[in-house]
Structure formats: C-alpha cells, structure tokens
C-alpha cells in the first residue's frame, strides 16, 4: 500500500526540503520505493538538495497538464536505488496546481509506478501550495525550529492538518502527525537561550519523531547536492537516520538533545 507523507511547517526556511530529501533517501535506503515531490511551485529547490538539478526535463506541472507522463518526469537517483525525484515547476502561475491534477499524479505514482512512499515537500505558508501538498497525505511530519514564530506556525499547520486533508474531510479523523525539531542547539538550550525539546513538545502536544541538531553537515550536504542522511559520520546525518527508523516504527532513544557533560573543571569555570 502506498503511503503519502507531507513534510510541512507553515514557516519557511526551517528545514522542510532538507528533511524531505533526508526522509526520502533514508526510506529508499531501507528498500522502500520512494518518490519525493517538490510542491514549491515557482521556487524549485529540492532538485539542488538532491543534486539532480541538471537532469530536470519535466516537472510536476508538466505531468498535471499532460505534457509528459509520470515515467518521463521522474528523475531516478544515481546513488540510491528505489529513489525518485519529481521537481517543481518554475512557473509563476499559482493556479497550476489543481486538486484533480495532484490526485492524478499521486494515483499514477501509486498505480503505475508502485511506490511504497510518496514524500510531499510542502512550500511555506498556509496557501494553496501548502494545502495541495497536505490534502492527500496519510501522515505528516511537522518540521519546527525551537523559536517562537516557527512553533506558532507549526501549531497553525497542525490545526489545518486536522481539518483540511482528504482523510479529515471523509471523516476518518486526524492523520498521524509527528514533530521533527530541527536546528537544535543543546548548548543554547542549556544557557536558557533556546526553547527546549520538552518546551516545544509541551506546547504543540504531538508525538516527537526526532531532533536534528544545528549542524555544519547540513550546509556541506546542500553544497554537494547530497542528502545529509548519506553523510553517516555526521551528527545531523545520524539524527536523520534515527528519525527514519522511528518513522518506520523502531523505538530509539533521542540523541543529540543534551550537551556532552563537561568535567568538573569545565562546569566550574566554563561559560
């Protein structure tokens, strides 16, 4: 059975695309046939993060409009088997995404391409693009930074997920939504400068999928066009791999959430 997952946040620049790339790659590494779709019409970026920007021929809107079929538009990843990318179009026409069109593409990925997972990388905001990315979802990953505006926007998105998805409209109740707290800095939390994972969880009151530390590895990965989960030596890569495992039902302790305790000397004289 194909599962459709939306990666969403309300606020922009919090790590949705980074997360979509890592989650899709992680699922494909586990053997699941996975497509990651960029819903950010007009601001295509997932192709860069996945490192396939020079191989884009057709995009999501081309498939919706029938200019290309799904097979022609999907880009097969060169590093990981079972991984496919469907880029966003660069059109500035915000009405290019229609509900029927998106449904057609998702059905083709399910029926013709036999995907196990479809990851929908949502644009920021709570407008049409974000609503389209979320509408058909069976599950949601809410990406949040430990910062007031991001937490507030996530709460709004959680509210939207509870009422504006196909499952909600059909009366099947809320889709499972889990929190991914990214750009986390245990040092700053310790100093009382940043909301802690407990604080954010208490406010948003949804299950925690994972905590991704603020990490240079994310920038390195985007520079190289290689999803950070492939950087298995890095903290962020490992945190994403853990999150993928939890997504699939494994129970793992949360790493990278507490500071490596300094010795007595450090505690007495440290900043």
């Amino acid at each position: 059975m194909t599962k459709i997952v939306v990666v969403t946040s309300g606020k922009g620049g919090v790590g949705k695309t980074t997360t979509s790339a890592a989650l899709a790659t992680g699922l494909a590494l586990r053997g699941f046939k996975t497509t990651v779709i960029d819903f950010d019409v007009g601001l295509r970026n997932l192709d860069l993060i996945m490192g396939c920007e020079r191989r884009v021929v057709y995009d999501l809107v081309n498939v919706i409009n029938g200019d290309a079929n799904i097979k022609q538009a999907l880009i097969k990843d060169k590093r990981v088997d079972n991984l496919f990318i469907l880029p966003a179009s660069q059109t500035r026409d915000k009405d290019a995404l229609t509900q029927d069109g998106v449904e057609k593409v998702l059905n083709a990925l399910r029926d013709d391409m036999q995907m196990d997972y479809i990851i929908c990388d949502s644009p920021a905001g709570i407008e049409k693009g974000a609503l389209m990315a979320a509408y058909f979802a069976d599950e949601a990953v809410v990406v949040t930074n430990p910062e007031v505006s991001s937490v507030r926007d996530s709460d709004r998105i959680i509210g939207i997920l509870a009422s504006k998805t196909r499952h909600a409209e059909q009366g099947d109740g809320d889709i499972p939504s889990r929190l991914l707290l990214t750009r986390y800095s245990p040092e700053r939390v310790e100093k009382g400068e940043m909301l802690s994972v407990q604080d954010v969880q208490e406010i948003l009151a949804i299950e925690l999928l994972g905590v991704i530390p603020e990490s240079q590895a994310v920038l390195n990965a985007s520079n190289a066009g290689s999803p950070v989960v492939l950087d298995t030596q890095s903290d962020a890569g490992q945190a994403y791999a853990d999150a993928v495992a939890r997504f699939l039902g494994d129970e793992l302790p949360h790493r990278f959430v507490t500071l490596n305790k300094k010795g007595l000397f450090g505690r007495l004289f440290g900043g």
């Binding site: 910062e147 507030r152 509210g159 310790e190 100093k191 604080d199 406010i203 007495l268």
Partner: protein, 84 residues
C-alpha cells in the same frame, strides 16, 4: 554554567519568556480554530466599534463559539481598561 550562576538568584531566561508567550498565543489561536470563517472578521469589526467609544488594545475583544448540545453559543468578551 559557571560556579557564579549557582550563587546568583535565578533570573528568568529568554527561553522561559518565549515559552510563556507561546503558551498564551497558541491557546488563544486554538480557541478560535474550527469556528465559523467569519469569526476573525467579526472580531476585527467589533474591535473597531468598541474603539469608537473606549481606547482598547488589540486583545480587548475576544469572540468564541462554543458548541453545546443542540446549539452554538457565540461568546463575546470585551475587556475594558481599568480607568474607564
């Protein structure tokens, strides 16, 4: 944390201020969620009417719909400044 921070009285950190503010705003926004679409507009217009007579802040008018068995109750709360 250095030894000095154990000796000083605890002052509120910026993170705890953030948490308190978030708890308040999120609770408020949740209460108007799921209500009819006209609610924010109604609240806005009521605020303008009240302001014709009393200078009140942005938060002074609170509108909320409560569902009780059989009927919806529109609850309207207007907080006036102390010296009016």
């Amino acid at each position: 944390m250095s030894i000095f921070s154990y000796l000083l009285p605890k002052k509120q950190t910026s993170a705890s201020v953030a948490k308190e503010r978030l708890q308040i705003i999120v609770a408020r926004e949740r209460s108007s969620r799921g209500g009819p679409d006209y609610l924010p507009q109604l609240q806005e217009e009521l605020l303008m009417v009240v302001r014709k007579y009393v200078p009140v802040g942005q938060d002074a008018v609170n509108v909320q719909v409560d569902r009780e068995s059989g009927c919806d109750i529109l609850e309207l709360n207007i907080t006036l400044p102390e010296d009016s």
